[in-house]
């Protein structure tokens, strides 16, 4: 006869409610874990997308993400001629505030050279950029649809394709345009401002440049050697892909990551205390029944079984409900929520440990209870 299950069934509504409450708490914990992972994954998305091996940037900078980097466009030719380089492409990045469907839309504009590395990875809808001007490929999160047009700077661009998961470290969705369009966009101002500038006699307000040249090395080529070679050019610096990722995580999103990390730690501690309290209270409420069980001759293992099984059922359902809820809602978050099986299993491990520890407290109280208390009316 399984007493734990019978007792649960007896107070089913309350037990389910408790499980559900715990499940909601676990949803919060899991979404925090997901947000944390998402933050890191988002930050890396922009670095990982071009599938580069080496980033050539302005000397003395950790660009183009952590710091501004400007290098001449001609660098691309120089880099692509270096030994070991399979292909190279120049890219630049800029944030702009466009307006679309009556609302303002923050976009992260990536300019790349079609036919060179740096463009969108895989088009999920429509096609890639075909002509050299006024076409763009947008991330789905921009809300743009293929065939729509949007004004960037002075020109209207047609959305020809959609991608997914392209954004900058701040979560602004990306659009891809050709490098020449991007450089034009970078230097141009709206006509009114330009007239003012011209009247003042300013020749050029900004000069166009590229932010970085990314290179893919040939199979078997030495990346270290390549970066060392690039560094010999005084005006250039080179970062490997791993270094670039490291910079992103340790400097660009570091504060946000630590902020969420600490919050997550607090949240986990609070959850542990809540789970422990629920289980402990559940046992305390049953002390009289436990005394009765002792009186009629139930051995310790029956009583321990009752407490531990209920604790584990509670923990497991809380975890399960939390998991189902987060999987249901995670795509509605404005930024990415990334849950790895490892995280989910780790949470299960933590809940398991907390349940066992808390039922240990309950078991201790249960072992101490005097069977005579069952007799007191």
């Amino acid at each position: 006869m399984n007493l734990a299950l019978k007792d649960i069934r007896h107070g089913l509504f309350r037990f389910v409610l408790t499980c559900f409450g715990l499940g909601l708490l676990m949803t919060v914990v899991l979404s925090m874990i997901g947000i944390y992972n998402g933050l890191v994954a988002d930050a890396l998305a922009v670095v990982k997308a071009p599938a580069a091996d080496v980033w050539v940037v302005e000397s003395g900078t950790k660009g183009p993400f952590a710091e501004a980097s400007n290098i001449p466009l001609t660098t691309r030719d120089a880099v692509s001629r270096m030994p070991g380089v399979a292909e190279a492409g120049a890219i630049n990045f800029q944030n702009i505030e466009a307006s679309h469907a009556g609302a303002s839309l923050r976009l992260y504009v990536i300019g790349y050279e079609p036919g060179h590395p740096g463009g969108p990875q895989s088009i999920v809808e429509g096609r890639g950029i075909g002509t050299s001007h006024f076409e763009l490929v947008a991330d789905r999160k921009t809300g743009l649809l293929t065939g729509e047009t949007i004004r960037l700077g002075r020109n209207r661009f047609t959305v020809v394709g959609l991608v997914e998961g392209a954004m900058n470290a701040g979560g602004d969705p990306a659009v891809y345009i050709t490098l020449s369009d991007a450089m034009a966009l970078q230097t141009e101002l709206d006509p009114a401002a330009q007239r003012v500038q011209a009247a003042r006699g300013a020749v050029s307000v900004k000069s166009a440049s590229v932010a970085a040249v990314i290179a893919r090395v040939a199979p078997g080529a030495d990346v270290e050697l390549l970066t060392a070679t690039v560094r010999q050019w005084k005006h250039l610096a080179a970062l490997t892909q791993a270094e670039q990722e490291e910079i992103l995580v340790s400097s660009v999103v570091d504060l946000a990551r630590r902020q969420i990390g600490l919050f997550l730690a607090i949240l986990l501690s609070v959850s542990a205390v809540v789970i422990a309290l629920i289980i402990y209270t559940m046992t305390m409420e049953k002390l009289k029944q436990i005394a009765t069980l002792k009186l009629i001759g139930a051995p310790d293992r029956t009583i321990i079984g009752l407490i531990v099984q209920q604790a584990l059922i509670l923990g497991a359902s809380g975890w399960g409900i939390g998991l189902v809820l987060i999987l249901t809602v995670k795509d509605y978050f404005p930024r990415r929520v990334v849950l790895e099986p490892f995280n989910v299993m780790m949470l299960a491990g933590i809940i398991f440990a907390v349940c066992i520890a808390a039922s240990g407290l309950g078991v201790r109280a249960a072992m101490k209870v005097d069977p005579a208390t069952a007799l007191g009316s």
Partner: protein
């Protein structure tokens, strides 16, 4: 009926609670023998030590001094001589409490069967015996009900069935009829007598209920923790 073997043999048992100024002598030098088939009543004013004596016999309380022998086995002699007192209770002792103390999350039948489950009976056998006992106590129509839905008398009879389930030879009852009307109280006592005779068990009952005094083989009076002859 006092000719069966001795099932309860209490010798020189004393029990006090606390020390110094707060010391209460609940039992002083109590000697009591109860034979198989015997049904006896423990009487006495409130605080005279009736419950304490019952708890000592039921191995729930350790006496301060004395010796307790149950069904031929000396279980206490200055100290407990047996380690697994719960197993002893499961096998030899049935308790009937004033408040029935059924487990609220089990049905009437399961409340009886749980004892047999603990004693290692198979599920079917346990159910069958529980059903038989409930039938015998005329509450089998309530077998599937949870204790909260039983009347006081029904619950008490289920509790009696539970106390009897594993055929204990020593049945201890603390005011078992307090929750019952006098007619039912009489019936319950008749039943306990019948069971005692059939199972060669003995029954020790604490009671204040004068209407059922005639159902007992012996009346034992306690006063200030001492036995006083009737």
């Amino acid at each position: 009926m006092a000719d069966g073997e001795i099932l309860i043999d209490v010798r020189g048992v004393a029990k006090h609670f606390g020390e110094g100024e707060t010391r209460v002598d609940a039992l002083r030098d109590v000697d009591l023998q109860v034979h198989a088939g015997e049904v006896i009543a423990l009487l006495g004013p409130s605080g005279s030590g009736k419950t304490t004596l019952l708890n000592v016999i039921g191995c729930i309380l350790a006496p301060s001094a004395g010796r307790v022998t149950l069904d031929g086995e000396t279980v206490f002699d200055g100290q407990w001589l047996r380690r697994d007192l719960r197993r002893l209770r499961l096998d030899k002792i049935g308790f009937i409490f004033q408040t029935h103390n059924l487990l609220p999350f089990l049905t009437a039948e399961e409340n009886v069967a749980v004892v047999l489950d603990l004693a290692g009976w198979s599920v079917e056998k346990g159910r069958a015996r529980a059903g038989d006992l409930l039938g015998y106590l005329e509450v089998d129509h309530r077998a599937a009900a949870k204790p909260a839905l039983l009347s006081g008398g029904e619950a008490q009879r289920v509790a009696i069935a539970r106390a009897l389930a594993n055929r204990p030879r020593i049945i201890l009852a603390d005011e078992p009829t307090a929750a019952l009307d006098s007619k039912r109280a009489g019936l319950v006592m008749d039943l306990l007598r019948k069971l005692a005779a059939e199972q060669e068990a003995c029954i020790v009952t604490v009671t204040h209920d004068e209407k059922i005094f005639d159902r007992f083989d012996r009346l034992i009076h306690l006063r200030d923790g001492r036995l006083a002859d009737a």
